[in-house]
Each structure stands twice: as structure tokens, then as C-alpha cells.
């Protein structure tokens, strides 16, 4: 009961927060909510299976671009639906062809995918439509965007919890531990991985679609920025990628740290970012939550 009430109370609190903060504060809230959603959605697939995907921005950017292309032609809900379908179709095609790749090959491929999508869209815009940049004029307020992202983030965590209790969640955990054993125990590897990958991709795409009006002006190099993929990974790892609340726990402080660093040290920011990544991997390789659990267990035993 408390496991349900506590998050619900927190959600209500987060929902009324915009009334209390400045415009700048609201911007931070949107950013934090976005990264909580991205990191949680990323972990839904990668945290369990240990297939580290750097394709986050391929889906995120596709979502943003879908809105840029369709926002004048279709009503907003239909635009979101199209974005989700585009993300699902892309994930299905990519998943079917690559989820057999193992380890580092998958990492590299997923990174390449984001670049490929960016290049394809750039090529298409330059050669076919002749418009590289696009403007997004939607009458959604910053608060509206925040609430949508909050809802998407909450839905992502709820979905992860639900999956975690079911057969798919068990299959993903086993795949993360040993695929060979998984297959010989009767788990359909391709189907389990594909299901999680597509679900994760749809959420990543929707996150891109929902935040896109914040950009106002959209261009492939802006919305397909690979830093988004790296940040997502490091946030999830910091909090604990195979824990329900781990990615959210990692996303909030790191997002705030990045904001502060990029505002105060715009030139040295990438270097500091790199150092932070290394620090996380060295200091808390399994993530904060698992490390804390271990500490508590040791206390209990002692």
C-alpha cells in the first residue's frame, strides 16, 4: 500500500510544483522530468538485458522531428500517435536486424543508428524538401509540457514496475545474466528483447515529441545531439540501471549538475562531463541504489 501511496503523493506534489517556481525553475523541472523519463525508458530495455544502447537520441530526435513535420497538418494527439508509431516501426526494424549482435557490437551499432538517422533526415531535408530547419509553433505552455512529461515519466516507471513483476521482466533479467541459459530454459530471446526494445523506443520517441516545442527551431544537428544518449546512459548507471527508481535517482542530480556546469563553465564543460562519467564508473560501478542496498545488508549482518 505504502509502495503505491508514496509515489502517488510525490506525483501530486510534483504536479503542483510549477505554481511555486519561476520561469527558469519550470525550465529545470521540464529538463529533469525529461531525463528521468529518458533514463527510465532506457533502463527498461538496457538496464535489464545489459545491451547498452546509444540509440536514445535516434528515437528522441525522431519524436521531435515528427512534431516539427506534422504539427501544422494534424491535431496534437494525432501528431503524438504518429511519432509513437514511427518510433515503434524504427525500433522493430532495428531490433529485428541487430538484437542478435552481442556486447560491444550492439553498442557501436546503436550509436551508428543515431548518426544514420540524422544523416538521412539531413539529406532528405536538403535534397527533397529543401528546408533544413523547421519551426514548431504549438500553443502548448511550458506548464503543459511539464505535465505531459511528468505523466510520461510516471507511466514509464509504472510500466517498468508492472513488467518487472511479470514473465517479460523475468525473461529480461535472465537474458541479462546469461542468454545461453535463458534460451535453454525456454525463453524466446528475440521476442523478449524486441518487446522491451520497442516499448522503450516508443517512450523515448514520445519524450522527444513532447519536449520539441521547447526548441521552437528544430534542425537535425540540434535534436540528434549524441550527448543526449550518453547522458541518459550515465544517469541510469549512476542511480542503478536495474532498479526501478535507479534511473530517476541518477537523472535528477546529474541533470542539475550539467545545467550548472554548462552555465558556469561553458568552455570546459565537455571536459568536466567526461571526468564526471569516469568518476561515476569508477566510484559506483553498479549504481547508487544497489551500493546502498549492499551497505544496508552488511550493516544488518554485522
Amino acid at each position: 500500500m505504502i509502495r503505491l501511496l508514496l509515489p502517488l503523493a510525490a506525483l501530486v506534489l510534483l504536479a503542483v510544483l510549477p505554481a511555486l517556481v519561476s520561469e527558469y525553475g519550470l525550465g529545470l523541472l521540464i529538463g529533469a522530468a525529461t531525463y528521468v523519463t529518458l533514463a527510465s525508458a532506457w533502463a527498461l530495455f538496457s538496464g535489464q538485458t545489459h545491451y547498452v544502447s546509444l540509440a536514445t537520441v535516434a528515437f528522441y530526435g525522431t519524436g521531435a522531428y515528427a512534431v516539427a513535420v506534422l504539427n501544422e497538418a494534424l491535431p496534437y494527439p494525432a501528431v503524438l500517435l504518429c511519432a509513437a508509431l514511427a518510433g515503434a516501426a524504427m525500433a522493430l526494424a532495428v531490433g529485428l536486424s541487430t538484437l542478435r549482435l552481442s556486447g560491444v557490437y550492439f553498442v557501436i551499432f546503436s550509436f551508428g543508428l543515431a548518426e544514420l538517422v540524422r544523416q538521412l533526415i539531413t539529406w532528405y531535408e536538403v535534397n527533397v524538401t529543401g528546408t533544413l530547419g523547421r519551426y514548431i509553433f504549438l500553443d502548448v505552455t511550458a506548464r503543459g509540457i511539464y505535465w505531459q512529461m511528468l505523466a510520461l515519466g510516471a507511466a514509464t516507471i509504472a510500466l517498468s514496475a508492472w513488467i518487472g513483476r511479470g514473465r517479460l521482466g523475468m525473461a529480461l533479467r535472465v537474458i541479462g545474466d546469461d542468454e545461453e541459459v535463458a534460451a535453454h530454459s525456454g525463453i524466446n530471446l528475440a521476442r523478449s528483447k524486441l518487446a522491451a526494445f520497442v516499448l522503450s523506443a516508443v517512450i523515448l520517441t514520445l519524450a522527444g515529441a513532447i519536449t520539441s516545442p521547447r526548441y521552437v527551431y528544430v534542425e537535425p544537428s540540434i535534436v540528434f545531439n549524441p550527448t543526449v544518449s550518453f547522458l541518459t546512459v550515465i544517469m541510469a548507471l549512476l542511480g542503478g540501471a536495474n532498479r526501478l527508481w535507479g534511473p530517476a535517482l541518477g537523472a535528477v542530480p546529474l541533470f542539475l549538475a550539467f545545467e550548472w556546469l554548462s552555465a558556469h563553465f561553458p568552455d570546459t564543460y565537455p571536459v568536466l562531463l567526461g571526468l564526471l562519467f569516469i568518476g561515476v564508473v569508477f566510484l559506483v560501478p553498479q549504481g547508487i541504489l544497489p551500493a546502498a542496498e549492499k551497505l544496508l545488508r552488511r550493516r544488518a549482518e554485522a
Binding site: R167, M170, A171, R173, V174, G176, D177, D178, E180, V181, A182, A183, H184, S185, G186, I187, N188, L189
Partner: protein, 242 residues
């Protein structure tokens, strides 16, 4: 009708014929030893039956249905369970979760209480009940082997493939292991066991099939096979090479 039929099974790795035209059958509830010197193709044959490797030629049937060509998961769900020569467990999961997996995804696809019952029974058989909540990575090598067997049993298979499961046990553990396998076979499970410990083979298997360089060189009663000049030559040949 036989439970397992291996018909002209062949596996090539480049120019090497690791399994070369092997044919034999195993009845329901029957136990047989799979012998042969190092590198003779025993593990490869286990891999072919369990679907870990595709056949280069030939066919494998279970209960009259062709299973060669199916994926590993479908063969597992058809009723084939296996252990690995180099033990494989799910290190980050508890013993109970390790054993739940085949109960949930195996032939009977249990869920909830039913899956827990099957898992607990398998842990009990393997003597691991008291440590059900422990993480599998914390087990000793021998207990990991026990866990692997428990996992195979939780699939409620018709055919169990053991790849040197008794290797590395001390005399007491070996006696327990032999008793456990005998009990499983007594309950109607068909077992094909790769084993180098001949005393255990004598104690458990009335029949053995013997491989050498990928070929089947004997398929007969255990005592007869062990005094068969072809079999002795195969094992001696290995020692002469060494």
C-alpha cells in the same frame, strides 16, 4: 516408440567433422552413458540435441516429432533439459529465481504459486532448499553444479542431458550424485549422460554409446562396451597421443 531418435547426425566445423553420421535412439525413461575420449564429439552431440548448434546434416526427433532446426527455447519447451560441461548459472539471481526460470518458461509454463512449488521441489531434490534466498554467485563450484541440475529438473523435462555433471565431486558427493540420478531415472526421466567416471557409468547405465573422432564406435551393454577392443583402442589411442 523411442523418445529420442538421432538419425545420421553430422556437425562440421570447417573441415573438422566433430559429429560424423551418428545414429542411435533412447527409450522413454531409459538411461544411457555417452562415452569417448577427449574431443570425440560428446559435447557437440549434446549441443545438437539441445539446439545450441544447428546440424550440418541428419535429423533429431523427440517423441516422433522433428526437433532439429527448432530454436533452443522451443526444444527446451518440447521437453529437453541440459546441464553444461562448464557450469552455467544465473549469478545475480537467487537460487530460487534460478530454478523458477525453467518452471515459468518451460514445458508447463507455470506461474505464481505453481511455479514456486515446482522450483522449491527441484531445490529440495538438489539439497539446496536451506539456501534458496542466497545469490547464486555466492555458491561453491559444487553447489553451482547442484543448482544447475535443479534448474534442469524444474523444467520438468522428458529428456535430461548431462555433460560430465559428476566431474569434480568428492567421493561422498559422488555417491549422493549417483543416488540422485538413479532416483530421477526411477521416476521416469530419460537421461543421456556424458561421463568419464566409469564407476558411476557402471553403477547407473546398463547401456552406453561410445564415440571416437565424431563417429559412433559402440552402442551396447556397458560391461561389453568397456571390454570391447574398439573402445579400449580408442581410449588407449588418446593416451598414446598424449
Amino acid at each position: 516408440m523411442s523418445l529420442l531418435e538421432i538419425i545420421g547426425a553430422e556437425k562440421r566445423f570447417g573441415g573438422l567433422r566433430a559429429v560424423d553420421g551418428v545414429s542411435f535412439s533412447l527409450g522413454r525413461g531409459e538411461i544411457a552413458g555417452l562415452l569417448g575420449p577427449n574431443g570425440s564429439g560428446k559435447t557437440t552431440l549434446i549441443n545438437l540435441v539441445s539446439g545450441a548448434l544447428p546440424l550440418s546434416a541428419g535429423e533429431i526427433r523427440l517423441g516422433g516429432r522433428r526437433i532439429s532446426g527448432l530454436g533452443r527455447d522451443r526444444i527446451a519447451r518440447a521437453g529437453v533439459a541440459r546441464t553444461f560441461q562448464l557450469v552455467r548459472i544465473l549469478p545475480s539471481l537467487s537460487l530460487r529465481e534460478n530454478v523458477m526460470v525453467p518452471a515459468v518458461f518451460g514445458r508447463k509454463a507455470h506461474w505464481g504459486r505453481a511455479a514456486e512449488r515446482v522450483a522449491d521441489a527441484a531445490l529440495e531434490l538438489a539439497g539446496l532448499s536451506a539456501r534458496a534466498a542466497l545469490r547464486a554467485s555466492e555458491l561453491t563450484y559444487i553447489d553451482q553444479k547442484r543448482l544447475e541440475l535443479a534448474r534442469a529438473l524444474a523444467a520438468e523435462p522428458e529428456l535430461l542431458l548431462l555433460d560430465e555433471w559428476l566431474a569434480g565431486l568428492n567421493p561422498t558427493e559422488l555417491a549422493e550424485g549417483v543416488a540422485l540420478i538413479r532416483r530421477l531415472q526411477g521416476e521416469g526421466l530419460a537421461i543421456l549422460m556424458v561421463e568419464h567416471i566409469l564407476d558411476a557409468v557402471r553403477a547407473l547405465c546398463p547401456r552406453v554409446v561410445v564415440m571416437n573422432s565424431g563417429r559412433l564406435i559402440a552402442d551396447e551393454a556397458t560391461e561389453a562396451a568397456l571390454s570391447d577392443p574398439k573402445v579400449i583402442a580408442a581410449y588407449l589411442g588418446e593416451e598414446a597421443d598424449a
